[in-house]
């Protein structure tokens, strides 16, 4: 369809913004306010919080993000192939196959290295050696 109309989109986004800002403002104006002894503390199931929440977190989260960047960038090329499959024909198909094979090799490598397992099989988790209090 030539000449896509963009103004309905702008109207829509404008209306969405009005709704969101309206909701935030309304609840800000209507809500009660109070202060108590522990109002200003983070919720930790009733236990007094210790330390900040700016913790170090597991490297696994970072590893997953790196894997995502690698794989998602490669998959974007497959999108381009999928939309033009008839024009590219069998030549394009075998090209995509080679590309997918490289992708698969990368995936198998990650799998073998244990990056896809949260708990690595190669380096077993340290045994719990904490001294238990006598019963």
């Amino acid at each position: 369809m030539e000449g896509t109309q963009y103004w309905p989109f702008l109207v829509y986004v404008g209306a969405v913004l009005v709704v969101i800002v309206g909701q935030l403002l309304l609840s800000h104006l209507l809500g009660e306010r109070h202060r108590d002894r522990v109002t200003g503390e983070p919720y930790e199931s009733g236990i007094a919080p210790t330390g900040s929440a700016r913790l170090r977190f597991s490297i696994k989260f970072f590893l997953i993000a790196i894997l995502f960047v690698i794989f998602d960038l490669e998959l974007v090329f497959i999108f381009a192939w999928a939309i033009a499959i008839h024009e590219l024909g069998w030549t394009g198909f075998w090209g995509a196959m080679v590309f997918t094979a490289i992708l698969a090799v990368g995936l198998i490598y990650e799998w073998r290295m244990g990056s896809l397992d949260w708990i690595s099989r190669r380096s077993p988790a340290p045994r719990e050696t904490a001294v238990r209090p006598a019963p």
């Binding site: 369809m1 829509y12 609840s27 800000h28 809500g31 997953i64 993000a65």
Partner: protein, 319 residues
């Protein structure tokens, strides 16, 4: 009718319907879950307990709008707005009837993928800005979950793109006049369903907010309508995934000629929303590491195989 006025009516009509669907879903989900778990659910306020929606809205607006003194204020306020914005804007490319679409983009699917992944900023920023331990873990989990399932979400749709030869959603619906794509693309449909559930962090994949482990995950510190917006955003995200499944795999607004096209579309979408609620009642939550490795090890290769098989079959047929 004046075409400009008509377009305006469709645009605002879609938004109006979406916001009300989100509100009504609160009641639908509670009643249906109660039915599935052999209890009554909300049945006091009004006929069938329908006024619980009004009561909920009044209650949530008059609760204390608490911004924690230890939080990162601007991010804390923006985070809930992002989830609602991306979910609602993602809906603009969904055709609810012939020519009834807010934005008829020729890259419709890419637009949808972009906005559904932008939603991640909401949960991650909420988890970080709250400066609370449960919220931080929830936000991190959401990031990892989204990264893992985003990879093959787009891939599972490429089979449909190959069959239809277009990224435009209206053309994809038109291409399904002979046969719904759920038959030739059943594997793609299942993978997209799972990835969609993981992206909207719905049960059974609600690990970022798992109540039994993380209190409320990334929105532990949120209250009042900011908390409400997370819920509305989740329901609209759910509706968006259901609408996309219907558009891409179940023939969109195609149906018997004597029913108006938008009604057919709404009916099909609602059926999928009910299916999602049924899944919530039926399936327990997986462990986090199981869920991630399941996505990378099984669903990603399956999506690749599905894509290659579809491409080969289409080319063989064309020869």
């Amino acid at each position: 009718m004046n075409p400009t006025l008509q377009t305006l009516a469709v645009t605002l009509g879609i938004l109006f319907t979406l916001l009300h669907v989100a509100a009504v879903l609160i009641w639908v989900e509670r009643r249906l879950l109660a039915l599935l778990q052999d209890r009554l659910g909300p049945n006091r306020a009004g006929p069938l307990g329908l006024f619980i929606i009004v009561a909920d809205v009044i209650k949530i607006f008059t609760k204390e709008d608490w911004i924690p003194p230890f939080a990162d204020r601007p991010l804390y306020v923006i985070a809930p707005a992002i989830i609602l914005l991306t979910a609602l804007v993602g809906f603009t490319i969904v055709p609810v009837g012939p020519g009834m679409v807010v934005l008829d983009l020729n890259i419709g699917i890419l637009f949808f993928l972009a906005f559904s992944s932008l939603g991640i900023y909401s949960t991650v920023l909420a988890g970080w800005a709250s400066n609370s331990k449960y919220a931080l873990i929830g936000g991190l989990r959401m990031a990892a979950q989204m990264f893992s399932y985003e990879v093959f979400m787009g891939l599972s749709l490429m089979g449909v793109v190959i069959l239809a030869g277009s990224l435009n959603l209206s053309e994809i619906v038109e291409a399904q006049r002979g046969m719904w794509f759920v038959l030739p693309q059943f594997l793609g449909f299942v993978i997209f369903l799972l990835a969609g559930l993981a992206e909207t962090h719905r049960l059974p994949f609600d690990l970022p907010e798992a109540e039994s482990e993380l209190v409320a995950g990334f929105h532990t510190e949120y209250s009042s309508m900011k908390f409400g917006i997370f819920f509305v955003g989740e329901y609209i995200g759910l509706t968006l995934i259901a609408a996309m499944i219907v558009t891409l795999f179940f023939g969109g607004w195609l149906g018997p000629a004597w029913i108006p096209a938008p009604l057919v579309f709404c009916f099909k979408t609602f059926a999928f929303i009910l299916f999602f609620i049924l899944m919530r009642a039926a399936i327990p939550r997986p462990r986090f590491d199981q869920m991630l490795s399941w996505g990378w090890k099984y669903l990603l290769p399956l999506a690749l195989i599905n894509l290659i098989a579809t491409g080969a079959l289409v080319l063989i047929r064309a020869d």
